[in-house]
Every structure is written in structure tokens, then in C-alpha cells.
């Protein structure tokens, strides 16, 4: 289940998980990924779209998006 839709996410990267009461912080790129995950976009779609917004190679983005999603899983947010 994609739990990202249940998260409360502020514009400056503060994340609140109402299920557990835990809170997190993320940076601008992390925020961009989370907002796209909430829209049920796949990791590949996210990487392709973010590449148009940020100065970064697709390879690096793919790797970072995958790693970020892995990290969300370890926090139980995915």
C-alpha cells in the first residue's frame, strides 16, 4: 500500500505521519518525489519528470529516487 497519501506534508518539507504520530523532514528534492508518489506516479515517471525540473542526469535521478523510496520503506512510509 502506498502510505504516502496518508501523510501530511508541508511546503517546507515537514512530514507528519498521523498513523504513528512520527514526524520527518525532507529537502526540496525529497519533497518533489513525495508529492509525485502521492499522485501514484511510478519511480521511472518521477525520474523522467524531475529531470526536466532539475539540473541532474537521468541516471543519478533514477538511482536517487530508488534510494529515497527504499528509505521511505525502512521508515514504514511506503
Amino acid at each position: 500500500m502506498n502510505r504516502s497519501q496518508q501523510l501530511a506534508i508541508s511546503e517546507n518539507g515537514f512530514i507528519f505521519d498521523p498513523t504513528t504520530g512520527e514526524s520527518f523532514t525532507t529537502n526540496q528534492t525529497g519533497l518533489a518525489i513525495l508529492n509525485r508518489l502521492k499522485k501514484n506516479e511510478s519511480s521511472m515517471e518521477i525520474a523522467l519528470k524531475m529531470r526536466e525540473e532539475f539540473e541532474v542526469s537521468l541516471e543519478e535521478l533514477e538511482r536517487d529516487v530508488a534510494d529515497f523510496i527504499d528509505h521511505l520503506r525502512t521508515y514504514g512510509l511506503m
Binding site: F24, G30, F54, L72, T74
Partner: protein, 454 residues
């Protein structure tokens, strides 16, 4: 216009975990762009990665600092470079140029010292295993042989018979100085009377002359007082031997064991706080000399320091090859240097520096080596910012023991370079290739694949 990119990170907000030392520095990191005047980029571009780098400037400065600490307090001091700590010829040569004699613990090390041009009488020959052949060679060349056990007394008496002359020797000792674990496997025990018995046996044999005493109380000794106890016991024994057997004890070799500024795993304080200054050791040792020496007697004080001289002069540059997220959330990096070339990683927590400015907060990370072995972990828990592939980590201090205890395992050992003055860089050990690995290997003819297929 596209926005500036930063690696995405997410961190859990922790509460209730604060301590009196403050929070961890999420944005602080150590950056190193060069060693002496040579940039990390240039070093890797020219000599590859991984790469061991030694700073000649640091080697010489360290030697002079430690030598000064003792020679300004006692009039008769000699340093012996501990070959086993690092016996690359260039490293040994630097210390010999600075005035150190050689301290070796095997025939191979003895041969290395001789090949380098060190005269036999400037070599201390230690160790529990010295073949009769090695003893004969060392004695005939005037080396200072330190006897480890009774069998060596018998062997040296045979050598004396063969050479037709008496041989000067030193007794290696062990004792309780309050340090645990107590190093008792080398030499003769002072506290039990074993050392005096050995001296009596030597006197009775009439073929050997005891002219020195040697003791090494342990390694990474963080308590300077232990050396004070050691010196007191050694000098008391020296005078007992002189008085009873009429030998003249010309030197007292207190070994080494001074710690470097490296952090042992499991220690809480940083080395800057936990490791005493070299002056503290010098003060305790020389004070114990003055307290226990007879008037007008100044036997030579020999120190066999290794680690403290060389550790901080050595760096290992390694490159991040890949990264992954572990199931527990930690970031893991795979670098191109493994524990096979970084032997001290088993007990040191190294300083890790990054070769460039990196954006993003630090996160708990693991640094793995490239070996297909579970034990290949350079650092099992450190804080690193998000690092891209190709970023270099500079690992230090690595000057002691790594380039002697390293293992050739599944890959080639890398270049070792020495940075000199004015940005000069010399290769002091070339990277290996397949020829080095296979030079001594032989394939019986009946196992040749080509002959089997034909």
C-alpha cells in the same frame, strides 16, 4: 530554467535523545582536497584509486618531535625504527636519514635493513624466532641480538663457539607494569626471577656478555605511568646483574607501544582527548631514569617506536563505487579499498574525509570494501552526507601496519606514493599486476589445459 539539484534525503525527527554534548553535527563534515601540496584529484588521476599516500613532511616532523621530547630530557637517546610497522624501503630510509637505527624481528626484515645499507651494528634483532643461520649472520655482522628464550642462549653459545669469540647480547624481559593484558610471551619474566636465572645461566656459560636489557610492555599504551614502572624494574634488574655477574649494562631498550592519534573501536573519547601527549611519556620515562640511576651512570635509552612515528603520515584514498539502502535504513557505500589492504580497520575507527563539498545532511552510513566477504567493512557506523559515485574518501591514519600486514586477495595491491617537498610525488611501491601474483606459482605440465584438450 532548471533548478539546482540536491540528493533527496529524509530524516526522522528524534526527540528525547539529546545529551549534554549537544546534537550530532548534521551539516558538519571533513573535507580534504589535498595531501601536503598535492591535490587528491591529481594523485588519483596519475596513480589510480585506491592509493596509499605517505607524507614525507609528516614523517620527518613526527620523528623530530618525538626525538626532541626525549633528547631534551635525557643525554643518551637512540631511536630504532620498528620495521614491522612499515618496511617500505622509502619509509625506512626517511627514518634512517633522521638518525634512527633499525629494529627487526625476522631474518627477512634483517636482510631488508642490510640491503638498504644499514650496518649490522645499527640493527637490533628481536623476536621469538631466529634461526641458527640468521643468528650467525647477525652476530658476525655485529647486530644487537635480544634473547627471547633459553633455547636462544644455547644457539648463541653455539655461534660463539663457531666464531671463536664472546658475543654481546641483550635480555628481553617481561613484567607486570599494571597494563592489561600483560605481555608475558616474549622474553624472561622479571617478577618471578626468571630473568635473573637467565642472566645466571649466561654468566655460567661464559660465552655471552649481557650488555643490554629490553622490554616492550604492550601496544597502544594509554597510561604513561606504566613506563615509569617498567624503567624502575629494568634499572633495578640491570644493577643486580652488574653487581652479581660483573656485566656492564650499556643500554636499556624500553620498546615502543606509544599510541598514535587513531581511534580504537569501542572507545568513547576522541584521540585528541584520550591519547596523552608524547611529552607526558617522555617525562615519566626520563624521570624514572633519574630516580633509579646511580650517580654518573647514563646508559643508552633506546626506543623502538613505530606506530606513533608513522601512522598519521599515511592516508588511503578510496573511491565510492556504488551505494544502496540497507533494510535497517542505513545508507551503504561500496568503495574500492577493502580490509585486505586496510588491516587496521579491524581495530581502528578511521577518520573519513571527503574530497569535495557535498550538499545534504549527514545520515547513518556503512562503508563496505569491494571484497565478496561479509567481513569487508571499513566503517560499520559513520555519518556521511549523500555521496555520489566517484566521490573519494580519504581514510586516515593508516601509516602503521597496513602496508606490512596487507593481504593479496582477489585483486591487486595498489600504488603507494610518497609526497615530498614542493609537490614532488614518488611511487614507493608499484601497483601489482598478474605477473606479481603468479611469478612464484607453477603449473605441472599434466595440468595444462591446452595439453589436456589436444
Amino acid at each position: 530554467m532548471r533548478m539546482k539539484y540536491e540528493t533527496p534525503v529524509i530524516q526522522k525527527c528524534q526527540t528525547g535523545l539529546m545529551n549534554k554534548f549537544g546534537s550530532c553535527p548534521h551539516y558538519s563534515r571533513k573535507i580534504r582536497t589535498g595531501i601536503d601540496d598535492v591535490s587528491i584529484d591529481n594523485l588519483v588521476e596519475k596513480y589510480g584509486s585506491p592509493l596509499f599516500v605517505f607524507s614525507e613532511k609528516t614523517l620527518r616532523e613526527r620523528f623530530r618531535e618525538i626525538h626532541r621530547a626525549f633528547s631534551t630530557r635525557y643525554p643518551n637517546v637512540t631511536f630504532a625504527w620498528s620495521y614491522k610497522t612499515n618496511y617500505l624501503p622509502a619509509i625506512c630510509a626517511v627514518f634512517h636519514q633522521e638518525g634512527a637505527i633499525a629494529e627487526v624481528v625476522s631474518e627477512m626484515e634483517y636482510d631488508k635493513a642490510r640491503k638498504l645499507g644499514v650496518p649490522g651494528d645499527k640493527i637490533i634483532f628481536n623476536g621469538p624466532y631466529k634461526s641458527l643461520h640468521a643468528l650467525e649472520k647477525a652476530v658476525s655482522e655485529g647486530a644487537m641480538v635480544h634473547i627471547d628464550h633459553l633455547d636462544e642462549i644455547y644457539d648463541l653459545e653455539k655461534v660463539a663457539d663457531k666464531l671463536g669469540r664472546k658475543i654481546k647480547v641483550a635480555l628481553r624481559l617481561n613484567m607486570d607494569t599494571g597494563i592489561r593484558p600483560q605481555w608475558s610471551r616474549f622474553g624472561f619474566n622479571v617478577d618471578s626471577g626468571q630473568a635473573m636465572m637467565a642472566a645466571r645461566r649466561i654468566h655460567h656459560g661464559g660465552k655471552l656478555i649481557i650488555n643490554g636489557l629490553h622490554c616492550h610492555i604492550g601496544t597502544f599504551i594509554l597510561e604513561p605511568d606504566a613506563y615509569g614502572v617498567q624503567v624502575e624494574k629494568m634499572l633495578k634488574l640491570a644493577y643486580q646483574i652488574e653487581d652479581q655477574f660483573k656485566f656492564g649494562i650499556e643500554y636499556i631498550d624500553i620498546g615502543g607501544g606509544f599510541p598514535s592519534k587513531s581511534k580504537l573501536k569501542g572507545t568513547y573519547l576522541s584521540p585528541d582527548l584520550s591519547v596523552p601527549a608524547i611529552d607526558d611519556y617522555a617525562e615519566k620515562i626520563t624521570s624514572a631514569f633519574y630516580k633509579n640511576l646511580r650517580p654518573g651512570d647514563f646508559p643508552r635509552l633506546i626506543l623502538e617506536s613505530g606506530r606513533v612515528m608513522v601512522d598519521e603520515a599515511g592516508y588511503l584514498i578510496t573511491t565510492i563505487h556504488s551505494s544502496k539502502r540497507m533494510p535497517d535504513g542505513r545508507k551503504a557505500y561500496v568503495v574500492d579499498a577493502g580490509v585486505n589492504i586496510l588491516f587496521t580497520s579491524f581495530w581502528y575507527k578511521f577518520k573519513l574525509e571527503i574530497d569535495r563539498e557535498v550538499q545534504g545532511v549527514n545520515e547513518p552510513s556503512i562503508v563496505y570494501g569491494p571484497l565478496c566477504m561479509n567481513i569487508d567493512v571499513i566503517d560499520e557506523g559513520c555519518l556521511l552526507p549523500p555521496l555520489n559515485r566517484g566521490t573519494r574518501l580519504i581514510v586516515s591514519p593508516v601509516g602503521a601496519y597496513n602496508v606490512t600486514q596487507w593481504l593479496q586477495f582477489i585483486s591487486y595491491r595498489p600504488n603507494v606514493v610518497l609526497t615530498g617537498e614542493n609537490g614532488k610525488v614518488d611511487v614507493i611501491r608499484e601497483a601489482e599486476d598478474l605477473l606479481d601474483i603468479e611469478r612464484r606459482e607453477r603449473l605441472p605440465e599434466h595440468l595444462l589445459l591446452s595439453s589436456k584438450s589436444s
